[in-house]
């Protein structure tokens, strides 16, 4: 039982990171129907910013968090303006390829600057409380609470604020939204900024939890987060969170029951099985097609 709780806690920690990244995918997809394949690498940049802040500048937790979030948000907006915006009316595939290109660029650029894996020292004294064989670290508590807090804030923004309404309007019909006076470009930039900030936070939390980072770390984690978004129903904010926790739970369960090398195999196979039965994800619904 303790073991089960312990593993659930691990799943919660990992799932929080997946969910935060998945939100970035799902928000951009929701607003632009574009898969931002570079988002996993935004996450990676967040981890590297965390390294700079903690290991080089010796800053404490909160400034590090702000640096990671703001830095990645800025990067995301920059990429959107420079690379995606010129392609907004181009074939959809062009935008996807560009996103792949941006992703590889970020990986290799980071690799050229820092060819070896880096180790991140702890950003704060990590206390572990144990009770009845169950060990809970302060890092785990911070990760889960911060993630849930950010997600709640996002849900509030999307559901209640003028910006959220504008986002949903752009998502449904960009042209009509523009005609009704919604500043489409600014809304899209804001979407990238929010998604980027969440990705940056995820990068930092991940780097603190699993403290060896390298430029390719965003590939696997990023894809898995993307898968989470798809599992939950891409384009749906609650779906992304749900998907993140589900994927993490499955992964931890597989790692417990089978040799850990089977983890990816089972996780991705489950995805395909799920998609066969629910092609639009758990919370997603198909939009009817007009003839």
């Amino acid at each position: 039982m303790t073991y089960f709780l312990q593993q659930s806690l691990n799943a919660l920690q990992l799932g929080s990171v997946y969910a935060l990244i998945a939100l970035g995918y799902t928000m951009v997809y929701g607003v632009l129907t574009m898969i931002n394949f570079a988002h996993g690498d935004f996450f990676m940049v967040g981890a590297f910013l965390c390294f700079i802040s903690v290991a080089r500048l010796h800053l404490p937790f909160v400034p590090t968090l702000l640096i990671s979030m703001a830095g990645v948000a800025l990067l995301a907006v920059g990429v959107e303006v420079a690379a995606y915006r010129p392609l907004r009316n181009a074939p959809r595939v062009s935008a996807i390829i560009t996103a792949l290109g941006v992703g590889i660029f970020l990986e290799h650029f980071t690799l050229a600057l820092s060819p070896y894996p880096l180790h991140i020292p702890p950003a704060f004294a990590n206390v572990t409380w144990s009770a009845g064989g169950l060990a809970v670290s302060s890092l785990q508590v911070v990760t889960v609470l911060l993630s849930v807090g950010l997600m709640a804030a996002l849900q509030f923004v999307v559901a209640r604020t003028p910006l959220g309404i504008a986002m949903r309007a752009v998502s449904w019909d960009r042209d009509t939204a523009a005609l009704l006076g919604v500043p489409v470009d600014r809304v899209i930039s804001a979407t990238f900024a929010i998604g980027g900030a969440l990705g940056g936070a995820a990068g930092m939390l991940y780097a603190l939890s699993y403290p060896v980072i390298d430029p390719y770390m965003g590939v696997l984690v990023g894809w898995k987060a993307f898968i989470s978004a798809v599992v939950g129903g891409i384009g749906d904010v609650r779906g992304a969170m749900l998907g993140g926790y589900i994927l993490a739970a499955v992964e931890i369960a597989v790692a417990v029951a089978l040799p850990s090398t089977y983890r990816d195999f089972v996780a991705f196979s489950l995805l395909i099985v799920l998609l066969i039965f629910r092609p639009y994800g758990i919370l997603g619904r198909p939009r009817p097609q007009k003839l």
Partner: protein
């Protein structure tokens, strides 16, 4: 003059054959006599392997317009299958087993391709990207867990069996087979799926079959390329075939150009050579490459040769007809322009009406969108050759009736009989095959294809050419292709469109596009033609022409016509019977004269007061 000669050489297929033969001789002579140093030979072999990968991926991503990132997985499957065969199964006769091992690698990949394709094409959009992405991770993870294949450490012990002549032969073979495939009825189906999958389905193209087949063919070549790769490098590991490898191939495809054989040759060669040439830049070349890709997408989103083709690889065709030539398909023609006699006879024979049984018998049809009843209790009977109109205010459910009859939606209630056969709930393709064709409210032509290809595509369901024939252009392929082509040209000539046969459908005037859509529907040889607002956006003169056109279609082709229209002049003078729909139910039915004075019709159109 000089340019002219060069152009003629580029068009002459014999020059291509001669060059291919010379190339083969060279591929044998170069290693035999050491004409180039071994490093250059190695690069040449990588170019060949990359051409195979790039062209086969282009089939899915360029020609078909889907988005797959799974090629690394198929390559991996081919590489491991072939290597295990030569290393573990035939360690002593590896050199002899190698050709078979390459084929086996291709087949293993093709089989996996089938497994991936079957569930992937259930829905549209980004689904394939997601599934193939997961597939790459699954293959990598699976191989890492197979001890016999070396697990995560990789597999060693292959002899260097991949030689320049082998690579050359495989490359030429790939180009040959994929080109044949593209210029077959399946290839037309592939292009139609890219242009407008929905329209393709309604024109009788078995889109599912086309997509699965294309995917399997592409996977086969990726697997074969993997086998060649493994026996060139003599070492493979699961990590080599990750998503980054797939991205490399995507770069090649989009650099060279989508939907172009010449583009793939160019893209693969450029990319391979450029990577080598930039080697002194070390890590920074890997930074430059993606940057190049992004710039390319912004300034030339379809790649260097996007949708264009090198003359050698175009379809053999008679001299160009009039109109703006269509680069995407590189075909044209105005042959057989005035042979209209066989046409109408052939179609009329297919349209033999059966006695007693009505052609179309719809009863109690209902369909709801959520809580809204778009159509409720709709019934309609039509006999062969009848011309019936459906009118009603906007939102009355007219188009929904069309969508129910043609299989776009499955009715919640009711039954549709077509000459006695129950077609309720069948797929659009099957309903088209039964003999119902339609046009769309917003024109849905295959815009980047030529006028002729639009018509030829609609022959898909009525052709019988098999996969083997399509891949080799042997057997009955040529005869059937000629038959379909002649019939298409006859149809175009009949409607005075032969002059435009080589033009891009999207470049036609609005009126001609409307007309072409009807001709395309007729090419599927229907007995019932559904026209959804054929006169929308036309001026009075064009409406007159259209009425004449519809009368002619019915007289010459013996089809019954059911049309939705708002133009009262057209409806009243053309239709024999009218159905008036409002809020999803028939409020009146009868001859135009009866309808014009029907109180409920006046009420629906003009409101309560006018009716009293």
């Amino acid at each position: 003059m000089n340019r002219h000669t060069a152009g003629a050489l580029l068009r002459d297929r014999r020059v291509l054959y001669a060059l291919t033969a010379v190339g083969f001789l060279l591929s044998w002579a170069i290693p035999r006599f050491g004409l180039l140093d071994s490093y250059v030979q190695l690069i040449l072999m990588y170019v060949g392997i990359n051409v195979i990968l790039c062209l086969s991926l282009n089939l899915i991503n360029g020609y078909m317009g889907e988005f797959s990132v799974g090629h690394a997985g198929f390559m991996s499957a081919g590489a491991y299958t072939a290597s295990l065969l030569t290393v573990r199964v035939f360690p002593h006769g590896a050199a002899w087993a190698f050709p078979a091992a390459c084929l086996a690698g291709g087949c293993a990949a093709a089989l996996l391709g089938l497994l991936v394709a079957l569930p992937s094409f259930k829905t549209r959009g980004d689904y394939l990207a997601i599934v193939t992405l997961a597939f790459v991770f699954i293959v990598k993870s699976a191989v890492e867990n197979i001890d016999a294949a070396g697990g995560p450490r990789g597999l060693l012990g292959m002899d260097r069996l991949t030689t320049l002549p082998w690579v050359y032969a495989w490359t030429v073979g790939t180009v040959f087979v994929i080109r044949n495939f593209i210029y077959s009825r399946y290839g037309r189906g592939v292009l139609a799926v890219r242009e407008d999958e929905t329209a393709a389905e309604f024109m009788g193209v078995d889109t599912r079959q086309v997509k699965v087949l294309t995917f399997v063919v592409a996977s086969f070549f990726a697997g074969a390329a993997g086998a060649l790769f493994a026996h060139l490098l003599q070492y493979i590991s699961p990590g080599m075939f990750d998503i980054v490898k797939s991205t490399d191939m995507l770069v090649m495809v989009y650099l060279g150009g989508v939907a172009s054989i010449g583009g793939s040759l160019l893209g693969a060669s450029l990319y391979t050579v450029l990577l080598e040439a930039l080697r002194p830049l070390a890590m920074w070349r890997m930074v430059l490459m993606p940057l190049l890709l992004v710039l390319l997408m912004i300034f030339r989103p379809r790649g260097i040769m996007g949708l264009r083709e090198f003359p050698w690889f175009r379809r053999r065709c008679p001299p160009q007809g009039g109109g703006q030539p269509c680069g995407a398909c590189g075909i044209g023609g105005s042959a057989g322009a005035d042979r209209t006699d066989s046409l109408t006879v052939g179609v009329a024979a297919a349209a033999q009406p059966r006695p007693q049984v009505p052609l179309l018998d719809v009863s109690g049809l209902s369909h709801r969108f959520g809580g809204l009843a778009a159509v409720s209790g709709f019934s309609l009977r039509m006999s062969s050759g009848e011309l019936v109109g459906i009118i009603g205010p906007n939102g009355a459910g007219k188009t929904t009736v069309f969508n129910l009859i043609t299989g776009a939606y499955r009715p919640d209630e009711g039954r549709i009989l077509f000459s006695g056969q129950d077609i309720t709930g069948l797929r659009p393709g099957a309903i088209n095959a039964a003999g119902i064709a339609r046009t769309f409210q917003n024109i849905r032509l295959f815009k980047d294809l030529s006028v002729l290809d639009n018509i030829m595509t609609a022959h898909y369901a009525r052709s019988s050419c098999g996969v083997a024939e399509a891949l080799t252009h042997a057997g009955g392929y040529q005869a059937e292709e000629a038959r379909v082509r002649d019939h298409s040209l006859e149809l175009l000539a009949f409607f005075e469109m032969q002059g435009q046969s080589a033009a891009c459908a999207g470049s036609l005037s609005y009126g001609l596009q409307r007309r072409l859509e009807i001709v395309r529907a007729l090419a599927t040889r229907p007995r019932l033609l559904l026209l959804d607002e054929p006169a929308a956006g036309m001026n009075p003169l064009e409406v007159d022409q259209l009425m004449e056109f519809i009368r002619r279609v019915r007289a010459e082709f013996g089809v019954a016509v059911l049309l939705i229209e708002h133009q009262m002049r057209l409806v009243m003078s053309l239709c024999e019977r009218l159905e008036v729909l409002d809020f999803g139910t028939t409020i009146a039915a009868g001859t135009p004269a009866q309808i014009q004075s029907h109180p409920r019709v006046l009420e629906a159109y003009l409101g309560q007061e006018s009716a009293s």
